[in-house]
Symmetry: none
């Protein structure tokens, strides 16, 4: 069976940094020249999540955001005034989370971390 959808999704993930919504992935795929329907994107993402190839978290509005598991996991610091974004190396926090989860007996922990504030220029 040809399964042409999955490679298209994986290529779309490669063109996006970090987490992406289903709609963003669809737009990226179309931009890549891979024509496919939104329903197919949702269906394939659901499969990939159940196969644990893709992580899913929900933003504050409840919208699902997906991330290919093989990518490096990092967080962002966002300026709420000018939109400046800065990547954070989150080694520390990942280990902290794993420790917290283990001591509570929790498994398969997903986390969302959102840091918003004012960058140095906007603060002055």
């Amino acid at each position: 069976m040809a399964h042409k959808t999955r490679p298209v999704i994986l290529r779309a993930f490669r063109g996006i940094d970090g987490f992406a919504s289903a709609r963003e992935l669809h737009a990226q795929a179309v931009g890549n020249g891979d024509a496919l329907g939104l329903a197919t994107v949702y269906r394939e993402l659901r499969r990939m999540v159940s196969e644990e190839i893709v992580d899913v978290v929900h933003d504050l509005d409840g919208e699902a955001r997906y991330r290919h598991c093989d990518e490096a996991h990092h967080h962002h610091l966002v300026c709420e005034r000018c939109g400046l974004t800065r990547e954070i190396a989150g080694e520390e926090i990942e280990t902290w989370i794993i420790g917290v989860a283990q001591s509570a007996g929790f498994h398969q922990i997903r986390h969302t971390i959102e840091l918003v504030g004012l960058c140095s220029t906007c603060a002055s």
Copy 2:
């Protein structure tokens, strides 16, 4: 200044263990004999979230689940299956965040941290 809604919501929270959806809170309030509309429940919950009186997380389907939180700032570990909730002492993470913000020159950082997974019983 009537504000009769908030006490009704708080009473509904008292009758529920852990996190509850808006619909569950509405049903609980009605069960308590407090008649009110679903729209009012959503509106008051939004207010309480913005006042940081209530915590909100999202389950696997993206549905919002609320919890009354009268303590200061803290985080939760939530089981996405049974709703079991565990409070996390987050001293470590607060200092980590402050450090990250300082080194990036950011000020007035607000943060959202959401940890969702499977508790030990649901994992087996």
